[in-house]
Subunit: 447 residues, 2 copies
């Protein structure tokens, strides 16, 4: 309760006890103000330069994050509360005591992290609503082929190249290859939506492939991680992942119309304010929970939820309602991705980075060409923009950062390789949005 | 990042390291699902019984909270992670390890608490938008008188009665009196909004008085707390509070039209999606921060932000955009208030409660009659619903709980008095919404 904390603060001042609870709320409020300003300024500049707004949100995140202003930073990598300018501001102006800096910082960061995760859940739910289930099913085979090629080529070329060219250990090379397979659904789908290309055939193939890619990526990561840890593949775990992915997707597609009927029946029950939006949000959250609980991803569940509701008669109204919610939650995600990106790895004056830079050039080349090549694998369409499909698969984004993080946590990556993987993720993430605008024919700035 | 946690979960399964981070997200998702279901079912039942929906949300909160189902519980009062059914569910189905239950529980509770605080900020911003600044200024003198009478009578009668009738110590009696002064802006304004009475003269007087009451309450609490702690009043602290309240309110009122102009100028700068809502949200957050930073309240700042924007030409559009955001954030606040309410104090089979019950009967009588009497203090209007104004000031809600909490933390309240204060808060909170529906002439259920 809000009032509670403020009154406790008054009491704390009066009785000199130290209750720092209100400061978490203040930390969150300040972080949100910084995040919103960074995202809107970034989006606006980017749009005026003819680039996709989401690129500006990422850059805005970099500016306020660990690489530059240190306004929005997160624990880890030697960061603690004393590095956060927001915590310093709270110390100066709100009597945050030095010993409470770190607990307040952790709690604030935890809240912002969860809000950013909820943001990408809302984003994928919205993308699901904007997508068309039957259209997506129609391009299903193409999407699967694109995803498979886009996973296989970068993984094989990346792994073999790392071993042959740079004489890296086999298990490290597997991680480098695995990191190359990722595609960021969040960034790709947001750019497509901004370009008005989400419902084009190319857009639907990219979206379907990015989703299949995400599932394949989870499987690859499980294989690589268990190889690195145990020296062998944990077959039962892999089988479980594959089966749960197939079952989840099948149920969502086959029972879509029943979900629709049940959804409308429940939403129509309510006579009080907010019945429709709340039913939709609860449905999305439950599907996100199921997606995460079966060890796929929360965002896949949220996307499936949006997708099965896309034929609801209330869809248009629902899209209107979800829009302002997305407007204030999704930027938290993109700015957080930017804020967590440490551009320090690009600094050639640091020794480890120099070796990393050479590996990075190789990885970036494979990352771009390997995904662009996937466009050639599309069959059954004569006049299709194969280049756009390939380019749409390029951004590694938050997914690539995770692969890098998992590799780093396993302890088998050298500093140079680790830096190279992060560089590859950064470059592919930041060049994909402008490239997509170039390869799609009608690059009108958002009205 | 969402993906991060899921993939780390796969790795955790594969490498048997224990990374519990994703479980905070899952805990938050499950808590939100429970909160939304409780609020919507409660609101719906309440509305069909001809009662205000918000009463149902509070009752729904009680059902899922510490008093009954233990689905949404918060640390403190002997509660830890092992009492939370959601944590038990995560242990059963998502491999939450026993030693991680408490950290996950704390982090999840922290996130839900902050979301609930953001919820009441959104609520007061929305109420501010729906209110009319010039109308509120017009009823200002009446509101001030109502608030003053509504603070003075309960405080004096409560304190003197506690000393004279129950022979309680002076400082404890001060706390009992102070707790009687509170008025819950959140509950009162929500019920008025549901009844369509927010813009009536009565509604505006109640709202203005509830706000003045909130500021007076902060001052009274500071006085009582410093009396209990130091045996004397900390004059400089009290003077600071009074001055900052007056300055803050004056600036908001006098510069309202400049805020409007500046707001529109900024919002019109943006060509990308979400410019209007984000400008409004950033403005509300900054005002909430200022409200809290000067030791008033975040919600007062948010209310002022809504109020000064109420004459913006984009107000109607803004109200449409804020509505779905309020629909999914405000219920978190009301359910949390209900969930934190421990009905155990009403149990007459517990020894301390029996003594408490007798004191409670006295406090509840003073609480109701003392506020109803304030209606008589309204001057300058012949045909005004004085009873409605008095009844509108009855609910103590979250504000009353805080007074009780501060008293309990000071250690000078006996168990019986503490229980009695909480009983008074519960009863006044739960009877006010149905009473308000009775005293306002057109109790149509929401369409």
């Amino acid at each position: 309760m809000n009032s509670s904390f403020d009154r406790q603060m008054v009491l704390a001042a009066a009785t000199e006890t130290s209750n720092q609870a209100p400061l978490v709320l203040l930390g969150v409020i300040l972080s949100l103000v910084v995040i919103y300003c960074a995202s809107k300024l970034g989006a606006e500049c980017s749009n005026r330069l003819g680039l996709p707004p989401v690129l500006g949100e990422l850059v805005g995140g970099v500016l306020v994050g660990v690489s530059a202003l240190h306004l929005v930073v997160f624990p880890g990598e030697g960061m603690d509360g004393t590095h956060s300018l927001i915590m310093q501001f709270l110390q100066l102006t709100n009597g945050l005591s030095p010993e409470s800096v770190n607990p307040t910082f952790s709690a604030t960061s935890e809240v912002i992290s969860v809000l950013s995760e909820l943001g990408v859940i809302v984003l994928l739910f919205e993308i699901g609503l904007e997508s068309n289930l039957s259209e997506l099913v129609k391009v299903g085979p193409q999407a699967l082929v694109v995803a498979t090629v886009g996973v296989a080529i970068p993984f094989l070329v990346g792994t073999v190249g790392a071993i042959a060219l740079f004489h890296l250990p086999v298990h490290s090379s597997h991680f480098a290859g695995a990191a190359l397979t990722a595609t960021s659904i969040g960034i790709t789908s947001k750019v497509l939506s901004e370009l008005g290309q989400l419902s084009s055939t190319e857009g639907q193939i990219i979206l379907g492939a990015a989703i299949a890619d995400d599932i394949l990526g989870i499987v690859i990561l499980a294989v690589v991680a268990s190889l690195a840890k145990k020296g062998e593949v944990d077959v039962s775990n892999i089988a479980y992942l594959v089966v749960s992915a197939v079952v989840f997707t099948s149920i969502a597609i086959v029972f879509a119309k029943y979900f629709n009927t049940a959804f409308l029946a429940v939403a129509n029950l309510f006579s009080t304010r907010g019945g429709l939006i709340m039913t939709a949000v609860v449905f999305a959250l439950i599907m996100a929970y199921i997606g995460a609980a079966i060890h796929l991803e929360a965002i896949l569940g949220a996307f499936a939820a949006g997708l099965v509701l896309d034929e609801t008669e209330k869809r248009e109204h629902l899209e209107e309602l979800i829009e302002p919610i997305a407007d204030i939650t999704v930027p938290i995600f993109f700015v957080t991705v930017g804020a967590k990106t440490n551009l320090g790895v690009l600094n050639p004056f640091i020794e480890a980075n120099r070796e990393g830079l050479i590996i990075a050039i190789f990885l970036i080349t494979v990352a771009i060409l390997g995904k662009v090549a996937t466009g050639l694998a599309v069959f059954g369409y004569e006049k299709i923009n194969r280049l756009a499909i390939g380019v749409g698969m390029i951004p590694r984004g938050e997914v690539g950062l995770v692969f890098a993080g998992v590799g780093a946590a396993s302890g088998i990556l050298s500093d140079a390789l680790n830096a190279a993987i992060i560089m590859m993720v950064i470059i592919t993430t930041f060049i994909a949005p402008p490239l997509l605008r170039v390869v799609f024919p009608n690059p009108d700035p958002q009205p």
